[in-house]
């Protein structure tokens, strides 16, 4: 069937099979490779993207379920001059990654978390990321990154999701 949706600020229309998963639509149809397929069982969070601003695991969403909605991937957090979002910068500055496989999912889950709770405690960050597995870092620097992003955002931009909602700055 035909779906119409917004991906990283760009309105799209595509013919998809109903069984096509959102992660496959993003990676294979649109060539957006930030979101990864990890466990493929709704556990690891590597495929996390934003659906209407909320974190979801795109291995467990059908592309047709995103019809009429807005999807944001980690590519969509970056401004077209290459400036990363506050959350992405915080992960870089705090060494919130090692191999990087979980990182796009971690960044999207963190972006959603901070949009819902701009001033999380360390415990709330840890619980808020329980749907994302990292096999390298031991999580400490990831938690540090999110707390640093929260601090920076509270003194700067109005919300964690602001970079992702500026349609004009994104090209698919």
């Amino acid at each position: 069937m035909e779906i119409k949706l917004t991906v990283n600020g760009v309105t799209r229309s595509d013919e998809v099979e109903p069984r096509l998963l959102l992660i496959h639509y993003l990676r294979e149809s649109l060539n957006l490779r930030a979101a990864n397929i990890g466990c493929d069982t709704t556990s690891c969070g590597a495929c996390t993207v934003l659906l209407d601003g909320e974190s979801v695991k795109s291995c467990t969403v059908l592309a047709v379920q995103a019809n009429g909605r807005s999807v944001t991937t980690a590519e969509g957090l970056v401004a077209d001059d290459g400036t990363m979002s506050v959350v992405q910068q915080a992960f870089r500055e705090n060494h919130g990654l090692q191999c990087g496989f979980c990182t796009p999912g971690m960044v999207m889950a963190s972006t959603s978390l901070l949009a819902e709770n701009p001033h999380p405690s360390e415990q709330q960050v840890r619980e808020g990321l329980e749907g994302n597995f990292c096999r390298c870092t031991g999580y400490h620097n990831i938690v540090r990154s999110v707390l640093a992003a929260a601090e920076k955002l509270s003194g700067a931009a109005p919300s964690a999701g602001s970079a992702s909602t500026d349609a004009s700055e994104v090209t698919a």
Partner: protein
Amino acid sequence: MIPAAFDYEVADSPAHAISLLAEHGEDAKLLAGGHSLLPMMKVRLAQPAVLVDIARVTELSGIRLDGDEVVIGATTRHAEVVGSSLLRAEVPILAYAAAQVGDPQIRHRGTIGGSLAHADPSADLPMTLLALGGAVEITGPSGARVVGVDDFFVGPFESALAPDELLTAVRVPRGGSVRWGYQKFVRRANDWAIVGVAVYDGRVALASMGGTPLRASATEQALRSGASIEEAAALAADGTSPGYDLHADADYRAHLARVLTRRALEGKTG
């Protein structure tokens, strides 16, 4: 993993969903958040020929007061239950239980009606509804009916819903000051309970202690007879039939049921 091919229909009202179910018969399944159904379809444990998407039926979603009850629409997502100030004030055990389901991403998609219809004996919300003594509103070709929770869960992953029926809403009693407790024992983040216990107003419900969520009847009876919490909790596994798996054997589950029931009766959460 890719589901088997299916046709996809979008319902625009409960009546439309029921007519689509009638049209396609037992080959059709309802889709809301899809967080129980899609994983089963990906491993081909479920291969419906038709999915009827009810997530866009706005009247199936929402939380409202109705006299002594709170009514929660079937497609209300877990995150909305967690964040509802009405539920936090009137049915705090339900808001708490919804926060124990999966992880934030899952709670952004999964729905209360989907969780109850899936009828997983180890899941949070079936156990919690059983403790609350709530009811489920169901609509089908022959009209609407209300099924009390004690009659709703009939077997493992099996409810009183017929294949041509739609779960439209959940009714739970208001009770902001009622004493409650909740215990969920897990070894991994975002897992199902190895054993779970929900206590509400003298009703004690267990998860993972049999083929359906179960009332701890002996414990409830003892409490009514004036037994202490310790005495009543010691009976929590009586009449249950826990299974065994990688995480726990039946004896260990019975032990957990007794310990967790005591903690839940003491009003503890965890």
